[in-house]
């Protein structure tokens, strides 16, 4: 892991010291629920993979894919607190309860 070179979107090399959260990506297979069953909706077209929603999810409902984008890893853990909704800089995730 320590020898791995990761480049960000602008092509700059990121070291572990610069951005440790970018090194903690999960390379395992992703099993996200289908959109209609998911408590959290993610709009990948607008997402810039900054990692804020995953870092501040209080229950660990969200996980990170190997490319850094979020996915719903534990749909039953979502408490609809809307933290991801409010903290997303790109308006790309909504965790509100459907009415």
């Amino acid at each position: 892991m320590s020898n791995k070179v990761i480049k960000d979107r602008m092509g700059m090399i990121i070291t572990e010291e610069d951005a440790p959260e970018k090194m903690e990506v999960e390379a395992t297979e992703v099993k996200a629920p289908a959109e209609k069953d998911s408590p959290v909706l993610i709009y990948y077209n607008w997402c810039k993979k900054c990692g804020i929603c995953v870092a501040f999810c209080p229950t660990g409902c969200l996980g990170r894919k190997s490319d850094g984008s979020p996915y719903v890893q534990a749909p039953e853990k979502c408490i609809h607190c809307e933290t991801c909704d409010r903290l997303c800089p790109d308006f790309a995730i909504t965790g509100a309860k459907e009415k």
């Binding site: 602008m10 440790p20 959260e21 810039k48 900054c50 990692g51 804020i52 800089p89 790109d90």
Partner: protein, 284 residues
């Protein structure tokens, strides 16, 4: 793009603009724009009675994306243009979004004189400690010793405390919060819009791509965690020993008082002089 959500925030965005927006990954400007939209939506204000004014800078791109009456003006002159709007249409709610360099360096005079005059503007000052859009030059709020592209060996200038500056200039509503405390920010924006008189909210924001990288702050989540762990509400400051308060960001409403508002005073003056024809009052 088929499934763009129809939540509150998305109803206030201009969908004919290019999304995802222009800000870097992890930039707090989007969070602040979301808080402004939620505040406006929860107050159920008429959109025709709202205007958002901005200058030049990263944060000043906000009016491009929000569907209100908007004005994107000269560098540093956002408050000057907003004063003109408020004087012409005193019933309009004017929100000014500016950055730290825009408002305290280039437009510093407009800020202090609007505060002194107590004209009913709502200034949301997004402080990211650096000139982000132009490549990371040091701004008046870059902390002492921090790095910037024009300060590669560390900044040797002390930084501005913007809230103290505006308090000294006589503003009637001053608050400080950070981009992490979104609900608090939303409440302060609501309180500022309701407040009659000059109100300024300083929002500390994270610039992970330029300021964060130059100063080894980590990514966006690390910078947000720093805001969370390194700030104190103003009500807790008196109860804690001084060594725990030192170096922390003090959040909260620092001043809220009712003082004569400039537009109301001007309308008074006009009606008073019109009655007398200006003959008895003028002392020249």
């Amino acid at each position: 793009m088929a499934n763009i959500p129809q939540k509150v925030v998305h109803q206030y965005l201009r969908h004919d603009k290019k999304f995802p927006h222009v800000w870097c990954a992890g930039c707090s400007n989007g969070i602040i724009l979301g808080a402004i939209i939620r505040a406006i939506a929860s107050m159920e204000l008429d959109r025709d009675n709202l205007v958002m004014v901005s200058g030049i800078g990263c944060s000043s791109r906000m009016p491009v994306y929000i569907d209100l009456n908007t004005l994107h003006t000269l560098h540093g002159r956002a408050i000057a243009f907003a004063t003109g709007i408020k004087m012409h249409k005193p019933k309009m709610k004017v929100i000014v979004v500016t950055g730290d360099g825009d408002c305290t360096a280039i437009g510093g005079n407009h800020l202090i004189h609007a505060a002194r005059r107590n004209i009913d503007l709502n200034v949301i000052l997004v402080n990211n400690n650096i000139y982000g859009m132009t490549g990371g030059q040091c701004s008046p709020t870059t902390p002492y010793g921090a790095f910037a592209t024009t300060a590669p060996y560390g900044n040797i200038e002390p930084d501005f405390d913007i809230c103290n500056l505006v308090l000294g200039a006589g503003a009637s509503f001053v608050a400080r919060t950070t981009a992490f405390h979104v609900v608090e920010m939303q409440n302060y924006i609501q309180a500022a819009i309701e407040h009659p008189g000059f109100s300024m909210i300083e929002v500390l924001s994270a610039c992970p791509v330029i300021y964060g990288r130059l100063n080894k702050k980590g990514g966006a989540p690390q910078m947000m965690k720093e805001f969370r762990d390194n700030s104190l509400p103003v009500t807790a400051v008196d109860k804690l020993p001084p060594d725990q308060v030192e170096g922390k960001i003090i959040r909260g409403i620092l001043r809220k008082e009712i003082r004569p508002e400039y537009c109301a005073a001007y309308a008074d003056l006009v009606s008073r002089v019109q009655v007398t024809g200006g003959k008895n009052d003028a002392k020249i």
